[in-house]
Amino acid sequence: MRLSATATRICVLLVALSACAPSVGASQSGATVADEQSTSQGTAAETSTDQQSSSVLDTTESAAAAGTDSAGDAKSKGETGDMPRVKGPRPADLPFDLPVAVSSELSPLCAERGDEITMEVTTEPGAAIGYQAVYSDNGGGGAVPMGEGYGGNDRGYADDDGAFTSSWIVGLNAPSGPARVDLVVGYEGEFGYDDPHFAVADADGNCPEEWLAEKEN
């Protein structure tokens, strides 16, 4: 009887281990993919613009959205790291030189769902312009399936003064938190890029001020 009971306990333990093993493996695999991608993106961003490097380390929400264990890891690292972190979308990673001058302003910077955001762009006269808003969960403003349908994905041309104005409605399904616009400009064979920041207010109407101030700096 004693041997039988011991064998039973061993079997239960083995069954438990075998049941756990696949999920552990899957979790690690997912985390590895996410970590590698984040690292790759971060490395590219660190060699790019200062705007991009400012949010290089923020992978927490993205990892969480991916359902990986790295979300917790990234969060704990962020809480204990030396650099202050601001949650937000991953920085863009463009492989081209971006010499075309472009600046932009958004209004309002802190938007409620359902608000209209207006973007004013200043660049070269006649420049081609495309943009997409990217929200705190890394979901795009474009229509599904290329985006999440949160609002903010359009194109056009700058006028003779180099001005371009566009606006969009922040979707009722948009997540609160930091967001930005990927603004790409084409002019005489070259690109330009800007990433104005904005935020979607939380339930209390608050926006992450440091994220908005980050762009101003």
């Binding site: 990673d93 081209f96 006649g126 312009i129 943009y131 795009g140 041309y157 690109f191």
Partner: protein
């Protein structure tokens, strides 16, 4: 040129189904400036999407454009393109940005015109820049830019491991090459 750009912009507004991966017309003399504009539609074939790197093609659907081939007006009638592209993304998310570089060959009444282009996609829209129109074996100065729409046809791949599948997309836009 301003008139051409205005025409292009107006045409783009009127014809939402218009497209261009790249557009240009050229002059016939070596190094002479190129001036032109085109509205182009093609169907892109990407053997894997999303992916960190692959090569694709875009086959003509429709094209219309004008330009100067030397002093001779040239009418653009078709477009075909080949390119390398990258559509990297993160697990559980759609790719927000994509990029491509390649060559578009424009069929014209004055003969084929080759245009190098770079492409950046943001969501369902893209910005294209062009350079180096080549006609009759001669390179010409000139660089341009345009916007395009990118409409993927289902089914779409995902960023999950093994989730990349071939993608067909309609590309339509308008671009102009400025005389420099």
């Amino acid at each position: 040129m301003k008139k051409i750009m205005t025409l292009l912009a107006a045409t783009a507004l009127v014809g939402s189904a218009l497209f261009a991966t790249a557009g240009a017309a050229t002059a016939s003399e070596d190094g002479s400036p190129a001036v032109g504009a085109a509205i182009i539609a093609c169907q892109a074939h990407l053997p894997a999407w999303p992916t960190a790197g692959s090569s694709g093609t875009c086959t003509n659907t429709a094209a219309a454009g004008v330009g100067l081939h030397g002093t001779t007006p040239a009418t653009i009638t078709s477009v075909n393109a080949s390119f390398d592209y990258s559509e990297p993304c993160f697990l559980g998310e759609p790719p927000l940005l994509g990029n491509a570089s390649g060559t578009a060959t424009l069929g014209s009444s004055a003969g084929p015109i080759s245009v190098s282009f770079d492409w950046v996609r943001v969501g369902l829209t893209a910005v294209v820049v062009t350079s180096g129109p080549n006609a009759g074996g001669h390179d010409h100065g000139g660089a341009g830019a345009g916007v395009a729409a990118f409409a993927p046809l289902p089914p779409l791949g995902t960023c999950a491991p093994g989730g990349s599948i071939p993608l067909t997309a309609q590309v339509a836009g308008v671009a102009a090459t400025a005389g420099l």
